[in-house]
Symmetry: C2
Subunit: 205 residues, 2 copies
Amino acid sequence: MPKDKFVVYGDSRSGNYYKIKLLCSQLGIAYEWHEVDILAGDTRTAEFLAMNANGKIPLLALPDGRYLAESNAILTYLADGSELAGSDRFSRAAVLQWMFFEQYSHEPNIATSRFIIQYLGNPPDRQAALEEKRLGGYKALDVMEQQLGDNTFMAGSEYSIADIALYAYTHVAHEGGFDLNGYPATRAWLDRVRAMPGHVPMESR
Amino acid sequence: MPKDKFVVYGDSRSGNYYKIKLLCSQLGIAYEWHEVDILAGDTRTAEFLAMNANGKIPLLALPDGRYLAESNAILTYLADGSELAGSDRFSRAAVLQWMFFEQYSHEPNIATSRFIIQYLGNPPDRQAALEEKRLGGYKALDVMEQQLGDNTFMAGSEYSIADIALYAYTHVAHEGGFDLNGYPATRAWLDRVRAMPGHVPMESR
């Protein structure tokens, strides 16, 4: 039956879900929450795959029954038309540049290291993969540090969904074994993001 | 000195550059071309890193001197306001959903397999990585096949930059060792994309 609000399917410990939670808090968007446990196989059921053939969370169900996948695409949908998506043609694209950077260079290294350590219990057969992700993750952090040495926020002078996307796993990078001590501009940016109106932490719901 | 048109830095054999070439052909956008050879270290020079701290191509230089990185963000900039970026809020986000899918689930498997085989000469020490990418790549192709069994184009009924992004490496997937024989809906979509006005092939410039 049709819903009167958005439904979000996700894992409450996941940074990719936290992105949506944080944006919804800042834009005042209400949604219904469905916890999904990927380790229990919840994303491989026929029911879930009918909603997202790629079997991934988070997933947004619109009130009209349509679905949107990919955390950063969900952010662009929810922020569409707001200043958080960028206020002109160049800034909209710069916001997306950093969101694609997040999904290609940052998340596969930093978020998945956290997943291996915190979710999978840091098993011996993942140590080679972790080592490779350590190198890639620090390289991504180096790029952020340089950008944040020159800019207040990731895509320039304005807070945007690029900051939300990159804050999600950067602020818990230590849970994946990353040390941010050598990244002062990034740590100052984490503080600025945390101080934005409507900010909510990852853990509590 | 200020340019009167866009400058694109890239590798003419790369699908990530081909995305931009194809879109510019279809939108009638002129640009100046700079060939960049990543294997020769062209993206690690101080000059290049000053343009893109992430050291990646393709890179778009705007006439006003600003830079945009990430192939799919460049597509959104060039297509901004055109129907190729999606004609309403949902379709714009659906286009981006498939572009994030491309960068997270498709390109790291299918494009990098092609890179290992065609650029690096398929060295023995990359066989384990190739095997893992084979599994991930076929999983991505399975998701596309299901989407294209139900839809004319990746994001629905309209051709978009999501099709350009996914066509780029799917149409040369065989060069990375992928066999599309079991993917009839995907092969029919490749033909539809190839038949769009202004289409240009990857090889010739």
